[in-house]
Structure formats: C-alpha cells, structure tokens
Symmetry: C2
Subunit: 149 residues, 2 copies
DNA sequence: GTAGATGCAAAGTCTTTGCATGTGT
DNA sequence: ACACATGCAAAGACTTTGCATCTAC
C-alpha cells in the first residue's frame, strides 16, 4: 500500500521520526474529511485493534500541528479541540447547531480582505478561521415541529 | 449612574431576573472591548471588592449567552472560552499569535457568501465566526531579531 | 411566598506531564 | 548507542453540578 509510504515520507520531511503510532494517527486523519477530536482518533484506533494511549494521541497531534501537518481548531459549541489534516485545499464549513454536522463551503471570501488589512495595518496575516453557523435542512424541519408552542 | 439602569432593563427585557451579580458581570463585559475569560471577570470583580464565586460567573455567562447578550467564542490558541458583549455592531478581529492582542477589523466579507449559501444549499445561516491570525507589527520585529539563527 | 439566583465544595471533562520503558535512525 | 517516542498514572486547567441558603419579583 503506497499511501502508507507517503505518510512515512510526510513525517520525515517534516523532521519527525516515523513511528507506527504517528502513521496510525495520520491515517485516521486522512480517513476523516471533517475535524475530529483526540478521543475519536483514540477510539477509532482501538476499534480497529491498534492500541494507543490517549496521551500519545495528544502528543502526536501536538507535534503534527506544530509542523503544520494538522490544524487545531476549537469550537465554542463543543468542548474539546478538533483536529483536521492540513490538506492544501483551503476550506471552511457550515456547522449545524442542531446536529453538529459540518458541510463544506467551496468559497473563501478572505483573500482580498487579508491583502487590504496587511497593507493598511502592517499586520502579517498567516491564516484565518471561518465558521458559518445555522441549521441544516433536516434540523430546520425538526425545529419547526418542536417549536410550535 | 444611568448605565446601571440600562443594564437592569437589558436583563429584564431578555427575561432574566435583575440581580447585583448579573449587573456586575455585564458591567465588566462593557468595560472590555475585547473578549475575556470567566476567570478574568471573576478577578476583576474581586479586585474592585465585589465578591462573586467563579461558578456564578460561569452560570451568568451561560444565561447571558443563551439570551444572546454575550457571545461565547473559543480560540485554538488559548485554553478556556472567551466571552464578549454582543454589541450590535458586527465585528471581527485580527489575533496576534505573538502577544495575543486582538485588533478589530471593520469589514466583514460574509454577507454575500451567506446569502448565496442559503440559496444554494437550504442551510439557514444564523451567524458566523471569523478570526484572522498573524503577527502584529511589534511581534514581527521581535521575531525577526530572535529568529536570526 | 416561590421560582430562581448564589456560594461553596465536589465532581467532571479535556489535556498535559513525570517517569520508566521501548524504539527509530 | 542515544535521543526521542510511548504507556500509564497522576496532576492540572477549565467548567459544571448538587445542595443549602438567600433574594427578586
């Protein structure tokens, strides 16, 4: 399996030792297009019979985030941080406040604004975080039934 | 002092009982244009001699957030949630990764995108969260000195 | 008077850390 | 061989909860 090799190279290129646990965590992250918690990675590995300790998951995620391989985000809605593979494709999500589903958004309206801010304020922009909140179609229906008081 | 009265009305209009503690928390929030932690509110009140328990601060913030009087946000950079008064003016910040200063941004590029998404996906947008990360002028200088290895 | 607010202490989550052991290079 | 990764258990940080008492309405 060649994606396994890629993961190894990816780690080494970032200056990280290539260990089974690290490749495991990378693999789980690759399997999830949506941000996941450390706990979820831990459980996913446990379910597939691969043992790992939760603290190791945290330490690996920290190392990966430090090298920019994963992005750490945190939502006011859910306790606990979320981690997502830093695919080069820049992407934002619509987060449903009902079911917590995350729907990807293709566009990002930030480019022009960032350039303008750098020009006008001297602030050096390195990134941004955008989340759109609301209710998905299904939860809108569910709410219109429940809220009929 | 009339702003004290306003705080009372604000609470009652939102269907919350008007208590000294609640007005205290509102007052601290009004004094801070930047998002603050629960702990910081607790300390601010302690310093001015107004006693309050930390759990009460949390409960009040939860109630205020539920009614939409304050916004709860959480940053991947700092542990702990941040709370900020929901001034009607919609506002985003540039967050400095060096000193954690938050500089307000006047514009918000989300309006058109939100309308488009609602039209195309049926998702009902209720709000969004945008933060821009980078380094302020001062921290850029500091870093260019330190990183000269 | 009563529902709800508050304080205090205890419990709960999520995350980090210390230390002994194991492993990639 | 040696620096670094890992597991385990314990500690830590932040937040919530249970319960008795107090207070706004």
């Amino acid at each position: 399996m060649e994606s396994e090799k890629r993961r190894g190279e990816r780690l080494r290129r970032s200056g990280l030792k290539c260990t089974p646990r690290r490749k495991d965590v990378l693999r789980i992250l690759e399997q999830n297009s949506q941000p996941v918690t450390a706990e979820r990675i831990f459980m996913a590995l446990k379910e597939e019979g691969t043992g790992i300790s939760l603290s190791t998951v945290y330490r690996i995620l920290e190392a990966l985030a430090e090298k920019g391989l994963v992005l750490k985000i945190s939502s006011a809605e859910s306790d606990g941080a979320l981690f997502v593979l830093n695919r080069r494709v820049h992407r934002h999500y619509m987060v449903c406040l009902g079911c917590h589903k995350m729907l990807p958004v293709d566009e990002c309206p930030l480019g022009d604004l960032e350039k303008k801010l750098e020009r006008e304020t001297g602030f050096a922009v390195t990134g941004h975080r955008l989340e759109i909140y609301g209710y998905c179609r299904e939860c809108q229906k569910a709410r219109s039934k429940t809220n009929s008081h």
